[in-house]
């Protein structure tokens, strides 16, 4: 094992290692920059910036390690999900939660639950309209039974009504 061979990058490059290492480097650089803006102090009297500074340096170091040692991707590993349907999950799941967050205090718990179910369900394979409607009815009822009636959490169920 010579250093030259470790650094030999002519063979298949693993883009995920480059991205992963690069991201760690960026996070580390950001943390170091922030830490340097705070008081560092000395080992016996550490300021608020001392510990973050050490972590930032470790972050950059690890980013380099990943980029150097793991960039030559020859290992067998499952690739990221190439199924186009994966995009539905990727986008609809966060979108459905955003809908819930926006509606919860404006319209109430029940509309928020219904919106979440309706936005999230199209990501599923073999989905039927009847199934989605049933779930969109059952979920707010269950949420009301468990959290409002059962546990007494202070939720507005439907704004202006309950």
């Amino acid at each position: 094992m010579t250093p030259r061979r470790i650094l030999d990058v002519r063979h298949r490059l693993d883009p995920s290692a480059i991205v992963a290492g690069g991201l760690m480097g960026l996070i580390g650089a950001f943390v170091i920059a922030q830490a340097l803006g705070m008081q560092l102090g000395s080992p016996s009297r550490m300021g608020p910036g001392y510990y973050p500074l050490l972590l930032g340096i470790a972050c950059v170091g690890l980013g380099l390690c990943i980029a150097i040692f793991e960039a030559r991707g020859t290992e067998d590993r499952p690739d990221a999900d190439r199924d186009p349907a994966a995009w539905k999950s990727r986008l609809l799941v966060p979108a459905s939660m955003i809908a819930f967050a926006l509606l919860l205090e404006r319209a109430g718990l029940a509309p928020a639950c219904i919106a979440l179910v309706c936005v999230a369900s199209p990501a599923a394979p073999r989905r039927t309209v009847a199934g989605t409607v049933a779930l969109a009815v059952a979920t707010p009822v269950l949420a009301w039974l468990i959290f409002v009636l059962g546990l007494g959490l202070p939720f507005t169920v439907v704004e202006g009504l309950l």
């Binding site: 990943i66 919860l104 928020a112 990501a123 394979p125 779930l135």
Partner: protein
């Protein structure tokens, strides 16, 4: 000895009250459910229920949350055997021989022996908790800042060394977790760090939001569109009793598995995933017919199952007596205790005896309930397995949103959990493991405080970490973990080079 009995009587008093029994039953049943259902797992379940436990007594809250944890270990094996789908990472090993058994029509025996092995492993673990946690707590009273820092260092490195396929990526996530743990107000100087004027994170990031984001939401984002064939292998209830030969081969396997599990649970940073792999490998090594493993060998099921349950119980030893969790689930458990104003550490056993001993006795009760849930009532779980994932995941998302909101009645926290869901999904794509991040996040404030105090007490002399014997031991162990991992990295690179020279595919 009389002490122990007096303590157990005190624990029985607490654990046998109607409300404690109810929460114990509720906890283990929920644990079974989330263990059986693929894609939920005990960790998001505990994080989700955390806010609800504000409204109940802390001891009962911990009894319930602990029940979810060890109940999940039982439940996960059911899905592994019948569907070849592990509900929790350690259950993946149970698939190796459990699913072949089910394919051969021996699912009943596999499930029966799993329940027995889990029970014995758990009981062994509980005995160790009762016997050693108080002793360890007395020992830990002598721990100073330097000892704590070195112990945490070892726990973090240890969990990184066994989590995931790449040591660098695991340790990277530990560091990122430690950085996320800084967010909020610095205790010593009062200065806000990494807050950027956002009021929602001035008190630090919500542990529930981080845990549910990178474990719960990220998982749904990755799997919602996938088609899953939910046809569990069928079995007949009457055929659950194992043959004499299976029993004879199971007992020693259960004994060895329990031992391995107990060691891994007690060591901070080892955890159940490590325990089951060691137990399985050990069983294959000592077996007179190693070729049967992977083809439906009963020892390949009973050894890892007893190991992971022994780990689940003994994991409470470092968590409660040192305040240093062994894995990500225990990290959330520490979060739960702290939310209730209880600081896990050497003082917990003596200051909160009713909680500690109540918990120990509740473990016994919970495991007894789990055996009933698993053997006579096994039919319920096979039916639960048939609920389609397309029905489950929207419900999971609703529970996540309500759970995270109800802690502070803060919509901001919902956005935080979405953000961490996206972060967790990105981590999946880049093969960064999530568990070390959560462990680092929980331990960061404790690590920084002890780091600062140790160097303050030594007047800035770094040798304090290696001149104090206990601290030196942990530093030594940490160095050993690092050398071992470095060796593995080099070995991997060298093997790759050899493969390339011969032009042969890697093997």
């Amino acid at each position: 000895m009389t002490d122990l009995f007096a303590n157990l009587a005190l624990g029985a008093d607490v654990a046998l009250s109607w409300s404690a029994l109810l929460y114990c039953l509720l906890g283990v049943t929920l644990g079974m459910i989330v263990g059986v259902l693929p894609g939920v797992g005990p960790l998001p379940a505990i994080a989700m229920l955390l806010p609800i436990t504000f409204y109940i007594d802390p001891t009962e809250a911990i009894i319930m949350l602990a029940g979810i944890y060890y109940g999940g270990q039982y439940g996960a094996s059911t899905a592994s055997i019948l569907l070849n789908l592990p509900g929790t990472p350690p259950a993946a090993v149970t698939c190796l021989d459990g699913y072949p058994m089910a394919k051969q029509g021996r699912a009943g025996q596999a499930l029966f022996m799993t329940a027995i092995a889990s029970l014995i492993g758990s009981l062994f673990g509980i005995v160790l908790v009762a016997a050693f946690a108080p002793v360890l707590a007395r020992f830990a009273l002598e721990f100073g800042a330097a000892e704590y820092f070195s112990l945490i260092l070892f726990a973090l490195l240890g969990s990184a060394a066994i989590g995931g396929d790449s040591f660098f990526r695991s340790i990277s996530m530990v560091i990122v977790g430690l950085i996320l743990g800084i967010v909020g107000q610095d205790v010593t100087s009062g200065q806000f760090r990494f807050v950027f004027g956002i009021p929602g994170i001035a008190d630090g990031l919500s542990i529930v939001a981080v845990a549910m984001g990178i474990f719960g939401v990220a998982e749904v984002m990755a799997t919602a569109h996938q088609k899953r064939d939910m046809k569990p292998e069928s079995f007949r209830f009457r055929k659950m009793l194992p043959s004499r030969d299976e029993l004879r081969r199971s007992w020693p396997a259960i004994g060895r598995g329990s031992g391995v599990g107990a060691i891994c649970g007690t060591l901070p940073g080892a955890g159940a995933s490590m325990a089951v792999f060691i137990a399985y490998a050990l069983e294959k090594r000592v077996s007179r017919r190693p070729e049967a493993f992977g083809q439906g060998a009963i020892e390949g099921v009973t050894a890892p199952e007893s190991a992971n349950n022994a780990t689940a119980q003994t994991a409470f030893i470092p968590t409660l007596t040192l305040g240093v969790p062994g894995d990500a689930v225990m990290a959330v458990m520490i979060g739960a205790l702290m939310i209730h104003g209880i600081n896990p550490g050497p003082g917990l056993v003596s200051e909160q005896p009713q909680m500690f001993w109540g918990l120990v006795v509740s473990f016994v009760i919970g495991n007894a309930i789990l055996v009933i849930l698993n053997i006579p009532l096994v039919g319920i779980w096979t039916r639960l397995l048939q609920i389609p994932y397309s029905t489950l995941y929207p419900i999971i998302l609703v529970l996540v949103c309500i759970g995270v909101y109800s802690i502070n009645s803060s919509v901001f926290d919902i956005f935080l959990v979405i953000l961490f869901g996206i972060v967790g999904y990105g981590m999946k794509l880049l093969r960064f493991p999530p568990a070390p991040l959560l462990l680092g996040f929980i331990l960061s404030p404790m690590m920084e405080e002890n780091f600062r105090r140790a160097l303050l007490l030594s007047r800035g002399d770094w040798s304090t970490f290696v001149t104090r014997p206990i601290s030196a031991t942990f530093v030594g162990l940490s160095v050993a973990v690092l050398l071992f991992s470095a060796g593995q990295v080099l070995l991997k690179l060298r093997r790759r080079d050899w493969a390339r020279h011969r032009g042969a595919p890697e093997g």
